[in-house]
Symmetry: C2
Subunit: 694 residues, 2 copies
């Protein structure tokens, strides 16, 4: 795989002619789209698309697809819910699910769908509040200002508000969301079809996945929510060359980072993460061999780590590319030279890059302790609950502006939802995971580190993990609620083993966090703001910000690409899906598919690729036409797109989607899901039944 | 950990004042040692040390320590034998072993100890034979010349001869070895003591390990071999500041590699290896949870992968150090500039670096296929046997000079020994490992690669691995012997599943190997020779060659070092060992130690460090005084020494050894091994018995 990546708009040396960018709804390059594709989205069009889009759970995207609250996303996005609704006896992951009637729709234990209803630019307020401040003062003020704005905005339980830091601090926007907290499962195919090809095919194209799930959002009255803005279904789906838009929540890109930050990622952070994830994958894969039930309860974990592992490998490959990195260095040099050439700009911004490098080096020195004490050193669901409860007891009595992020009044509803989760918790897997993280912690810090001695005492990681999990009742939501309500007194009196550990390590964790926030984070934030402002001053404001897990819009078109000298066609077909069926996981199609093969139109487009600039977090995004109709469903990017974390390359970066016609064909002929079809395309063709005797 | 590494002797810009170098016995810097330490080893001294040293198995070092064939090495070197002699009922790894009488000594199933008896410089012959040749012709001639020389030298079964490529081809030496093929276990402590601290303490100092094992070599008459040259035992052991020598077999260093080669290691090879090893470690760790017997049979594998993983992380850390790498770049630039400044040198050597870079890039393009087909793509003991048998049937009928390396007449005895191994083979572990490697192969090449399709067909990695292991009888040495003796006819007729797979993939494997040998290996060899010769021309011949797994000698002294601003003392004590005992593996001392604690002299030195320049492969090396007496036993290097692969830094690189007094004290008071003690120190103190009633 060769890359010829031109960092067009970020360095500003050339206009961004490529389909690059994950744009905000208040700075969309409508004129540029018109210039290239002849269609100019109006503000009304943008508003409708924004309101028809949804954030799904913590890290996915989705879309409203009917006036009655029907929501479309990926199977791999809804997988947590599907697994939580499964039992050893009734495995919805393996067998799929279809609610024949609305009454059969199953409530997800812990899932939220939200809709971005308002965007306010609050940059000026922030700049005024933090003017002239640095270090601790800057960080404290920033945090207090955020808490204040979010609190004022979140006027009810149904509303969530977040201050979003765009352009590394060049802009601050307040995003207001409608929250849907009653989410019910409507339809999911079998895992074998949703993730056909498994890890070997993940991030690859050609591809053959039916990675879809439908859920429905309900109101507080227990009835399907009424939705004013939703996407209609396209009659034919995406065609080659067609202009496509993808609204969604790309999680993170790092295109605006400085060279010092990229070096840290390349030389330290990504390799260390990959070593850990590789080992965790090996452990989880072998854990699956303990038995069928262990396989079931750990499958989600395996998918997640494999996905992240492959993505991180792609990122590291991109940063290890000498030519690519040289472009990054050159772009930074050019910007710094321009800054230094102007005495006013130099005085304002000149030191920012070195300050960031210094903070980045300071982080190198404390990284291992930070990770151990405040990061992944002690892992698992139970410890996460314990830490949240211990901190809530400490934080909530404080004035709102002095609390740790995540414990502000504006976040309380989300916090309570999280603590009330009815999602099952598997002690055997908890012990395995906790053993793993404690072993890693000892490895990273060494057995003689005071923190390691404090946590482990004379116990081995396995013995301690077993004792902690067996000695904790935090798997029970009622126990958590009581501890949350009981506050500091209840926490201090608790003999729960996990609560005691969380309390034991909290002073260390808070101390290293404070050091990190003041000496690393605050310095990087402050100076990244300056770098971003330097870019605005020198290159103008027609730039898109790095992805931040918030709603964006990308544009592009359906288009193949070249790989190793060969053309990769933009479409696969449902017929070709059967050619890859070997009968062995992950290349084993489910029975439903094999039974329906004869009825399917083999030439129906299955998956396809577009040039839209997306990244992890866009999973579940609809692919829409200029008429804002669904023509596909994003579920992946190709291998080449993984480097998109650091820059976009139109020659090979591709978004991968399920074609809308494959969705219709499979709902109709494989799953006989008439009820959904009718909702997606009112008045559409009735289900074709197999002829008798066939 | 900070490094201030000065690449003195390799760049030749400054004299090597540091204790740097793994020197050959025919180019030892005796004068330099005298200058720094006041002692000049004579040729007779060097000869005696060489003949008293031994190579142990495939990758370790050892020493003769009595006239009756007693050999000292590390527990972790003899671990393979100790495990092979164990059963589920009698676990010698966990419980240790001591043969009270000579008759009780247990024969290791597959182990060889060898002694370097002669070194001949054959560089001129090689240069004449390959003069003017390149590519395939060069590689063929080199191979043929090696086979010819080795064959002429290996006049009996007891002799092994290898042509050793020194200075990346700057010199060729013929090494002649005495082979001892009957090796019997005499004494081994419990694993818990030998590897006290386990993986967390591995490559760390301070340290507290009794990593020793004694074996005895026997002659063909079944009697202990008579040994003329052996090391006597020091009366007191190593003292701080004392001059120490370490003879041994350092496996590999890469200090003479070009920048292009180092970049490949840093950006591709080391990261990819680490990802794979991390995952394999995770898998093996969790495999241990299948049950106690599975834990026993996989412990060796776990130790090996953890050791290699930690070593490789240290190497990558060194290469990722910007300052260190900049020194490497500067050294190469200086050498190239000097070459280019002289028209004659330029004509001779000027193109070598770019040629190496080109070949290295060519390898990047085929690396994945090479690894899959000829490397670790199909792993496990059974497949290794199958490939050897399939290739032997193909190769042996050919003229000696045309055979693949490893199948020459000179290698036949070793080949037969390997095939005759009685070491047990564990099908459950074989299946797990083979599943792992097949999964990785599919991941690396992709499921649609013709080779993957050929190997897997419609089976999953696990299904195929299970079928192959269950369908193979190659675990039986008699079956292997019959197939070896039967030649091509027997192989063609065999229905053994593993033989059939090896035969199926051999054409692909040979093709990629040929491509690699001609387009990568031959080009790099040829041009590395030129770089080495350029160094000789410009910097003289007082240089040491990179380690090659052959006998070397390093010098240094007992000396502490600074780490993170604190002094690390050079000695630990037996008493302090008990302070680290937690009772939980890997910090649980065995019962024998706890029982003897009261009898031990707490101040006895336990482990210690020296400045000797060593690397993996030196494990089991004796540490000797200028009187060639044993003062310690190398078993590790500290973390800082891992970067020694690429350069030596006297400020912090340290060899770690068991002190000779700790060996004596534990043999005497913990293990009551009078028979060995008497052999090591004839007429020494009789064993102290515990007073009755204590």
């Amino acid at each position: 795989m060769k890359r010829l990546l031109i960092l067009a708009s970020l360095i500003g040396a050339a206009p961004a002619l490529a389909d690059e960018g994950m744009w905000t709804y208040n700075n969309f390059p409508a004129a540029k789209v018109k210039e290239k594709y002849g269609f100019e989205p109006s503000q009304a069009w943008l508003d409708k698309v924004r309101l028809s889009s949804a954030k799904f759970g913590g890290g996915c995207s989705a879309s409203f697809v009917s006036p009655n609250g029907l929501v479309m996303t990926n199977h791999h996005c809804a997988r947590g819910c599907i697994q939580q609704l499964s039992t050893a006896q009734k495995d919805l992951i393996a067998n799929g699910f279809y609610a024949q009637t609305q009454a059969q729709e199953l409530q997800c234990p812990a899932l939220e769908v939200s809709q971005l209803v308002e965007i306010t630019d609050v940059t000026a307020q922030f700049n005024t509040a933090t003017k002239g401040l640095t270090g601790k003062q800057y960080a404290d003020t920033l945090r207090a200002e955020m808490a204040k704005l979010e609190k004022a905005c979140a006027t009810s339980d149904d509303i969530r508000c977040n201050v979003v830091t765009l352009y590394q601090g060049g802009r601050y926007n307040l995003y207001k969301y409608n929250r849907f907290q009653d989410v019910r499962l409507v339809f999911a195919p079998e895992h074998a079809s949703a993730a056909f090809g498994g890890d070997p095919d993940n991030f690859e194209f050609p591809r053959y996945d039916l990675d879809v799930t439908f859920v429905r959002v309900y109101g507080k009255d227990g009835k399907p929510a009424k939705i004013d803005n939703y996407f209609k279904w396209s009659a034919q789906g995406a065609k080659e060359g067609e202009l496509t838009f993808i609204p969604g929540h790309p999680g993170r890109t790092s295109r605006g980072l400085t060279v010092a930050q990229l070096e840290y990622l390349r030389d330290v952070s990504l390799p260390k993460t990959l070593f850990r994830q590789s080992e965790f994958r090996g452990m989880t894969t072998e854990f699956q061999n303990r038995g069928p039930e262990q396989k079931r309860i750990s499958s989600n974990q395996l998918l997640m780590v494999e996905n992240s592992l492959k993505a991180n490998k792609g990122k590291l490959e991109q940063l290890s590319d000498k030519n690519f990195f040289a472009q990054k260095v050159a772009a930074e040099q050019e910007l710094r030279q321009k800054v230094n050439a102007d005495p006013k700009l130099k005085a304002k911004y000149g030191a920012a890059w070195d300050e960031i490098a210094r903070a980045q080096n300071a982080y190198r020195d404390i990284r291992e302790e930070f990770e151990a004490m405040e990061g992944s050193g002690i892992s698992g669901q139970l410890f996460a609950f314990a830490r949240t409860l211990v901190r809530a007891a400490e934080e909530l009595p404080k004035p709102d502006s002095e609390r740790l992020r995540g414990f502000n009044d504006a976040s309380l509803t989300a916090l309570k939802t999280q603590l009330a989760s009815k999602a099952p918790l598997y002690p055997e897997l908890e012990i395995a995971n906790l053993t793993f993280s404690l072993t890693k912690m000892r490895e990273e810090l060494g057995p003689d580190h005071p923190f390691v001695k404090k946590v482990l005492g004379k116990e081995s990681p396995r013995a301690l993990a077993t004792r902690l999990v067996k000695g904790s009742k935090l798997a029970d939501p009622k126990v958590r609620e009581a501890l949350f309500t009981g506050g500091k007194k209840a926490i201090d009196a608790s003999t729960d083993a996990m609560i005691r550990l969380a309390a034991l390590v909290d002073p260390d964790a808070r101390a290293i966090r404070k050091k990190y926030e003041e000496e690393v984070e605050a310095v990087i934030r402050k100076n990244s703001e300056l770098v971003a402002q330097a870019r605005f001053d020198l290159y103008g404001t027609d730039l898109y910000p790095d992805a931040t897990g918030t709603l964006r819009l990308s544009y592009g078109s359906v288009k193949g690409y070249m790989e190793d000298g060969k053309k990769v066609e933009p479409f696969t077909t449902m017929g070709a899906t059967f050619d890859r069926h070997t009968g062995e996981d992950p290349f084993a199609l489910p029975k439903s598919w094999l039974a329906a093969q004869k009825d399917l139109t083999a030439s129906t487009p299955m998956n396809f690729v577009t040039t839209n600039d997306i990244i992890g977090g866009n999973s579940g995004s609809p692919i829409i036409s200029k008429d804002a109709e669904i023509v596909g469903l994003v579920f992946d990017g190709n291998r080449q797109s993984l480097g998109g974390e650091y820059g976009y390359d139109e020659t090979a970066n591709r978004a991968i989607g399920v074609h809308s016609e494959a969705l219709v064909e499979s709902l109709k002929k494989i799953y006989k899901a008439d009820r959904i079809l009718e909702e997606l395309r009112p008045g559409s063709t009735p289900t074709v039944k197999s002829a008798p005797g066939r």
